[in-house]
C-alpha cells in the first residue's frame, strides 16, 4: 500500500491532469501567484465581514473562528456524480425504511439481519418514537452522507449524518465567494448550480407538513441560540428560506399546537426544522433540565400536529455501531445490491474482531461509537506508542463502545499555499432532501480538506478547511 502513490483528483496517480480539472489547470497556470494570494486574503475578508464563523466549544470567551477556505475547487464530472447520487438515493431511501421499521414492527430484527441488542441497548434508540407515524412518513428530511474516495471509481461512505447534519451554509457561501472572486472560472467551466438549496429545502419541508392544514404551512428553524457553534448556519438558512428563526423560549403549546410568540400574539408553526438535539427537544419528555426545547412538543408531535425535521430518534440510523450493518439494511429494504460501499468495519463488541483490532492497533482507525467531530478516536499509523497503549486500555475496558476501520488511502485535491499547488486529503458531504415528493441531492456538497500535510482529519474543529465543490455539466 505504501509504495503506491496516492490518488490525486487533479493529477491522478501519474501526474496527468484528469479531465474535469483540465480547464481549471489552464487557468491556474496563467495566473500570477501573487494575485491568487491576494484573492485568498480577499476571500477571508469576505467571510469575516459576512460573519461566516463558527463558535469553538469549551473556550472561555465565545470565540468566533473562520473555517479556512481554499480557492482551488474540488471538481467532479457529471458521470461520477450520477453514479454517486444513485448510490446516495438508494442509501437514504433504505435509512428511512429502516427507521420506520425499527419504530414499528422491527421486521429486520425478526428476519435475523440485525441483532436485537443493537436496537434495545442503543442509546440512540428513542422508545418514545415507537408506533409514532411522522407526517408524510419521512424520518430524515435532511441527510448529509460523508464520502471518501480512494480511486477513479471508488467511493466509500464514511458516515451517514441522519440527525442534524451541518455545513450546508459553507457549501453555499463557498460558491458565492468563488463567484465573486473568479467569475471568469464560471464562464469557462459549466458548473451545476447549488444556489437553489434554500428554496428546495423550504419546499421539501413544507411538503412534509401535517395533514389537513388550511393555507401554506408555517415553517421555522429552531436553534439552541447564538452561542451554538453552528448559529451562523441556522440564521443563514432561516434567512435564505424566509422563515422565522426561533429558540425554545419563543415557543409554547397553544390549543394543542406549537406556537411562536410574535409581536401580535402566538402564531401556529406547522414544520419545525430543529437544530437542537433530541434530548433537549422537550424537557417534559426527555432531559428535564433543557432550556433549549419546548415543553410538551412531543405530545403535539405524537398527535400528528407538527412536523419535526429530522424526526426524533433518527440517530439510531447514523450510530457508528449500526453503520456496519447499513449494507445489509440497504439490501433488506430495497432488495438491491448496495451501490455505495461501506468502509470495512470491525465491531469491537465481537470477540474475534476485538482480538484482530487489538493485534493491529497501529494500522487501524478506532472510533467511539457515539463520538463525533473527530474526537475520541485513534489514528493508528500516526499515533505514538503511548497513545496506542492508552487507547488499548480504554478499548479493552469497553469494547462495545468502539469500531475499527483500516486507514484508507484517501484521495487528495491540491490546495493553494506558498509552495503553489500542494496535495491534501479531502472528504465530501453531499446534502440530501427527502420529502413525499421525492429525494433531491444538491450537486456537489461540502468538501472538507485537511490542511496539514499528510493529515486525514478534516474536521473544522481540528484545523480542517473547506473548498468549493463543483459538479460539471456534461
Amino acid at each position: 500500500m505504501d509504495d503506491e502513490p496516492i490518488f490525486d483528483e487533479m493529477l491522478g496517480r501519474d501526474d496527468r491532469i484528469r479531465a474535469p480539472y483540465a480547464k481549471f489547470k489552464d487557468w491556474f497556470d496563467g495566473e500570477e501567484p501573487k494575485r491568487l494570494r491576494d484573492k485568498q486574503r480577499e476571500a477571508e475578508e469576505l467571510f469575516r465581514l459576512t460573519g461566516i464563523t463558527f463558535n469553538v466549544y469549551g473556550r472561555a470567551e465565545a470565540e468566533e473562528r473562520l473555517i479556512p477556505f481554499d480557492i482551488v475547487p474540488r471538481i467532479i464530472s457529471n458521470g461520477e456524480w450520477q453514479r454517486l447520487s444513485r448510490g446516495i438515493e438508494q442509501r437514504v431511501r433504505a435509512i428511512n425504511a429502516f427507521l420506520h421499521d425499527i419504530y414499528h414492527r422491527q421486521e429486520i430484527v425478526k428476519a435475523g439481519k440485525l441483532p436485537a441488542q443493537m436496537i434495545d441497548r442503543n442509546e440512540a434508540f428513542l422508545p418514545e418514537m415507537i408506533g409514532v407515524d411522522p407526517p408524510g412518513n419521512i424520518y430524515t428530511h435532511i441527510v448529509g452522507i460523508d464520502l471518501v474516495r480512494t480511486d477513479d471509481d471508488r467511493f466509500y461512505v464514511l458516515e451517514d449524518n441522519a440527525r442534524t447534519p451541518s455545513g450546508v451554509s459553507y457549501m453555499l457561501e463557498n460558491r458565492e465567494t468563488m463567484l465573486q472572486m473568479f467569475p471568469e472560472l464560471f464562464s469557462q467551466n459549466r458548473v451545476q448550480s447549488v444556489q437553489n438549496y434554500p428554496s428546495h429545502l423550504r419546499k421539501s419541508l413544507a411538503a412534509c407538513a401535517p395533514q389537513g392544514l388550511s393555507g401554506r404551512p408555517a415553517v421555522a428553524v429552531l436553534t439552541p441560540g447564538i452561542y451554538n457553534s453552528a448559529y451562523f448556519e441556522h440564521a443563514f438558512l432561516a434567512d435564505q428560506m424566509g422563515v422565522e428563526l426561533v429558540e425554545g423560549h419563543d415557543l409554547r403549546i397553544v390549543d394543542g399546537r406549537v406556537a411562536m410568540r410574535t409581536t401580535q400574539g402566538y402564531k401556529q408553526i406547522d414544520v419545525l426544522y430543529r437544530r437542537v438535539d433530541d434530548e433537549f427537544l422537550d424537557p417534559l419528555n426527555f432531559n428535564p433540565d433543557s432550556a433549549l426545547g419546548v415543553p410538551g412538543i412531543m405530545d403535539v408531535y405524537r398527535a400528528g400536529r407538527i412536523t419535526i425535521a429530522n424526526a426524533p430518534g433518527t440517530g439510531i440510523a447514523d450510530d457508528k455501531a449500526i453503520y456496519s450493518y447499513i449494507p445489509d439494511i440497504v439490501q433488506f429494504y430495497t432488495g438491491e445490491r448496495p451501490l455505495l460501499e461501506n468502509v470495512p468495519t470491525w465491531r469491537c463488541s465481537e470477540p474475534d474482531s476485538l482480538a484482530y483490532v487489538l493485534d493491529n492497533l497501529s494500522e487501524l482507525v478506532v472510533k467511539e461509537v457515539h463520538g463525533s467531530g473527530g474526537y475520541g478516536m485513534l489514528i493508528g499509523p500516526t499515533a505514538t506508542k503511548k497513545d496506542i497503549a492508552e487507547f488499548r486500555k480504554k478499548l479493552t475496558a469497553r469494547p462495545g463502545n468502539y469500531i475499527a476501520q483500516p486507514t484508507l488511502s484517501l484521495s487528495t485535491v491540491p490546495i493553494f499555499n506558498r509552495a503553489g499547488l500542494t496535495p491534501r486529503h479531502v472528504d465530501l458531504r453531499p446534502f440530501v432532501l427527502v420529502s413525499p415528493d421525492g429525494i433531491r441531492i444538491t450537486p456537489g456538497g461540502l468538501t472538507r480538506v485537511a490542511l496539514k500535510k499528510g493529515s486525514l482529519v478534516v474536521n473544522s474543529s481540528q484545523g480542517g478547511g473547506t473548498k468549493d465543490t463543483w459538479v460539471l455539466e456534461d
Binding site: R48, L49, T50, G51, I226, Y231, A235, F236, A238, D239, V243, E244, L245, V246, E247, H249, D250, M260, R261, T262, T263, Q264, G265
Partner: protein, 313 residues
C-alpha cells in the same frame, strides 16, 4: 414577527445610537479641553454625567482625569455604556435578529464591531483619538444609511426606528438634565466666557452647533438653545423631532397590526400635551421639572413598548 426579534431590533438600534452619542460626548470633552485655557477636570466630570455613566467609575479609577474618562467611556468592560460595549451589544443583537436584517445592514454592523474591536483593543492615545472617533461615527452612519436604503418599510423597520429615537430622545434629555442650570435666564444680558464655553459644549454634545448657527447666528442665547434642543422640529436630535418620529413609527405599526396599544397612547400624549408648550411656558413651568418629567415619560414608554409587543415572556 417574533417578540424576541422586535426586542433585538429595538436594542440593536438603541445601542448603535448610544455608541454614537457616547463617542460624540468624548469628542466634545476633548475639544473643549483643548481649546480652553486652564483645563479643569471638572469638565470631564460633567462629560461623565452627560453620558450618564458615572456609576461604577470610581470602582475602576482613582481620579477623574481626561485619560480615565476617555478610557471609561470608550473601552471599559465595566461600563455597560462604553462605546465598545454598545457596539458589542448592537452586534450581538444583530446576530440574534440576523434574519430580519438585509445583508448590507448586517455587514455594516459587523464591520463596526470588527473595527472597534481592533481600534479599541488598547488604551487610545491622544493622537489617535480624533481618527478613531471619526471612524466610529462614519461607520454608524453607514449602517443608518444601509437601513434607509435597503430595509423594507414594515414592522421590522418600525422597531429599528423606535429604538433609535427613544435612545436619542433619552440622550438629548439627559444632557439637558445635567446642564439645565446653565440655560436658566440670567440677570446678565451677555454671557460670560464661562457661559459661552458651557453653551458651546451643550450644542456640540448633540451635533447642534452648525444647525443652531444657521438659525441664530453666533449669538448664544440660553433660551434659544433650550428651544432649539427641546422644541425645534427641524433639528433631528431635538426632543420634539424624536417624539414626532416615535409617534409616526408607532402609528405605522398600529396601522399594520390593526391595533393601537397603550404605548401608542403614551407617545401621543407626550407629543400633544407635554411638548405642545412653547419655550416660555416651559421656563415658567420650570426647566428642570420639565426635563425630569420627560425622562420619566421616556422610561415608561420604553417599558410599555416591551409589554405591548411581547418582547419577553
Amino acid at each position: 414577527m417574533l417578540g424576541k426579534t422586535a426586542n433585538g431590533l429595538f436594542w440593536m438600534y438603541r445601542y448603535l445610537e448610544r455608541a454614537e452619542n457616547v463617542s460624540r460626548l468624548v469628542e466634545t470633552g476633548q475639544r473643549i479641553a483643548l481649546t480652553r485655557s486652564g483645563e479643569s477636570d471638572e469638565d470631564w466630570q460633567s462629560v461623565l454625567q452627560s453620558a450618564g455613566v458615572t456609576a461604577g467609575f470610581h470602582d475602576h479609577y482613582d481620579a477623574v482625569t481626561k485619560d480615565t474618562v476617555i478610557d471609561w467611556m470608550l473601552r471599559a468592560k465595566g461600563n455597560p455604556s462604553s462605546v465598545l460595549n454598545c457596539i458589542g451589544g448592537a452586534r450581538q443583537n444583530a446576530r440574534l435578529v440576523r434574519t430580519a436584517l438585509t445583508g448590507e445592514v448586517w455587514e455594516g454592523t459587523n464591520a463596526i464591531y470588527m473595527g472597534a474591536r481592533d481600534m479599541l483593543a488598547r488604551k487610545v492615545g491622544e493622537r489617535d483619538l480624533p481618527n478613531i472617533l471619526r471612524r466610529i461615527r462614519q461607520q454608524t452612519a453607514l449602517v443608518r444609511g444601509a437601513t434607509h436604503g435597503t430595509m423594507l418599510r414594515n414592522d421590522i423597520y418600525d422597531f429599528c426606528r423606535i429604538g433609535t429615537f427613544l435612545e436619542r430622545a433619552d440622550n438629548t434629555t439627559r444632557i439637558l438634565d445635567v446642564k439645565y442650570y446653565v440655560l436658566l435666564p440670567s440677570v446678565m444680558a451677555v454671557g460670560t466666557d464661562l457661559d459661552n464655553v458651557q453653551w458651546e459644549t451643550i450644542l456640540r454634545s448633540v451635533s447642534a452647533r452648525g444647525g443652531f448657527r444657521m438659525e441664530f447666528g453666533n449669538q448664544f442665547e440660553p433660551r434659544d438653545i433650550a428651544s432649539f434642543l427641546i422644541l425645534d422640529r427641524r433639528f433631528p436630535r431635538s426632543l420634539g423631532f424624536c417624539v414626532d418620529k416615535l409617534r409616526s413609527n408607532m402609528e405605522f405599526l398600529g396601522r399594520e397590526y390593526g391595533n393601537f396599544p397603550r404605548a401608542h397612547g403614551m407617545v401621543v400624549d407626550m407629543s400633544e400635551r407635554h411638548l405642545s408648550r412653547d419655550i416660555d411656558e416651559i421656563f415658567d413651568y420650570g426647566l428642570h421639572e420639565f426635563v425630569q418629567e420627560t425622562l420619566n415619560c421616556l422610561g415608561a414608554l420604553g417599558q410599555q413598548i416591551e409589554i405591548d409587543y411581547r418582547f419577553y415572556e
